[in-house]
């Protein structure tokens, strides 16, 4: 059988990771965490996360950068802000989840699955039309999440379009999206994330496989 030894050596941790997160909006109080787990317990989806929010915060403070940036937890987060409201240390956990997602996107370290792709599509669409066309978006999502899913959605799509709630061939767009693009382009001149320092090199995983 295969057993594997997992160990983290100090030099593999990124001591600055916590400061990077702390420098982003909402992360200011990350050092105040008392690891009480209220966030994980109130979170409606923590039970589906690979690492609970409390553990994410703990790992950030310890410098487990690559583990955190490759975790699916932030992508499962539905931004319901329960953790943020309940946190006794007043830590804006939802915002920290956003920060992690942005860093992961930027450094392409996120786990490849449908949600990041959706977010990406969403941004592209808004960039193009200034607004979102639910039908088109829905189609893209359904396609990404597999043929079976696509088919399973057909009856619903039909019902909704009959009630004129799903405009299959209509594109929701601004009169002149370039007005918006002027603003967005101006923003692009700035680094994508406020105050964030240059992200360090992503360290590699360290599992030693032992076969017995």
């Amino acid at each position: 059988m295969n057993v594997s030894r997992t160990v983290k050596y100090e030099e593999e941790l990124d001591a600055d990771f916590a400061n990077e997160i702390a420098a982003m909006p909402g992360g200011e109080k990350i050092w105040d965490c008392i690891q009480c787990g209220t966030c994980s317990a109130i979170c409606p989806v923590s039970v589906y996360m690979d690492k609970t929010p409390r553990r994410i915060i703990g790992m950030i403070r310890a410098g487990f950068k690559d583990e955190v940036l490759s975790s699916v937890s932030p992508w499962i987060c539905t931004s319901c802000y329960s953790c943020t409201v309940e946190c006794p240390a007043d830590i804006k956990i939802t915002d920290i989840m956003y920060s992690i997602k942005r860093m992961a996107m930027e450094q392409k370290t996120y786990r490849r699955f449908v949600i990041p792709d959706i977010e990406d599509e969403f941004v592209k669409m808004v960039w193009k039309n200034g607004r979102l066309s639910e039908a088109k978006m829905g189609m893209k999502v359904a396609r990404k999440s597999g043929l079976r899913n696509l088919i399973s959605m057909v009856p619903l799509a039909w019902k909704l379009s009959r009630r004129n709630r799903l405009k299959l061939f209509h594109t929701e767009r601004m009169a002149n999206p370039e007005q918006l693009r002027i603003v967005l382009n101006a923003m692009q001149e700035h680094p994508p994330e406020l105050h964030v320092k240059k992200p360090g090199v992503v360290p590699t995983h360290h599992h030693e496989a032992v076969t017995t």
């Binding site: 499962i76 999440s145 929701e172």
Partner: protein, 289 residues
Amino acid sequence: MKSYLYYPGCSLKGMGGPYEQSLFSTFRKLDLKLTEIPDWNCCGATAYLSVNGNMAIALAARNLAIAEKDGGRDIVAPCSGCFLSLNKAKASLKEYPELRAKVVDALGRANLQYAGTSKVRHPLEVLMNDVGPEALKKLVTKPLKDLRVVPYYGCAILRPYEVLGDSHTPTVLEELIRITGATPVDYPYKGRCCGGMLTSGVQAVGLRLAEILLEAAKKTEADVIVTTCPLCHYNLECYQDHLRKSTGKDLDIPVMYFTQMLGLAMGLGEREVGVDRLLRRPMTVGVTA
């Protein structure tokens, strides 16, 4: 006649059509004017924040800046998601001067100024505060007698800004339900997440959340769930068939917008408030025009 700026957001132009329809008709009935913000853009939702924080804020801020041009009227944002994004942008620009400087500069390129003066409000709160329970009661001509209603707030109008008071114990929706003559049931999940984007992202998870909410709603033996947000409405209403197949449970229950409920109680016809566009018509709503 009180008058507001109206920020529809993408959903009310699509899936949330009935919401917009009922919002318009009820506000007309209440003699409240809604002026759509000229050439508004997407609020950025949660997706944009996950990709580029600064741009997401700028995106929302552009709408606020256009609204400010109009001078002083409050913005009504019916979609809870938009309501949150716009308020979040306001808060962030207040809290982070550096970000504010960048955004103000960016907006400047499009000849827009941002001062952070405009107020972003949700119609539920507008109805209860600006019109007020008394005035609303007077206009209820067809009380929805013995209609049992699940009050479902969702997340975004409760958290994190707690505009409706303590997010654990909101009561305004129940109050509105009573005003319409209906009975609010005791519902443990009134502020719990509906699944948000997960119903399309990781459907297994998203549907489970919806299932929990629907099952609890069925237990209360209510006739209908009332929502305040197009995404909640979609997640709760549209996956009932899926859930029946996957769980074998009967979770069928009509879901409607609070504006539809109020409209009906004020004597508007089902078509005027778009009840006919729901997947399941709340049967005991005995009025048809």
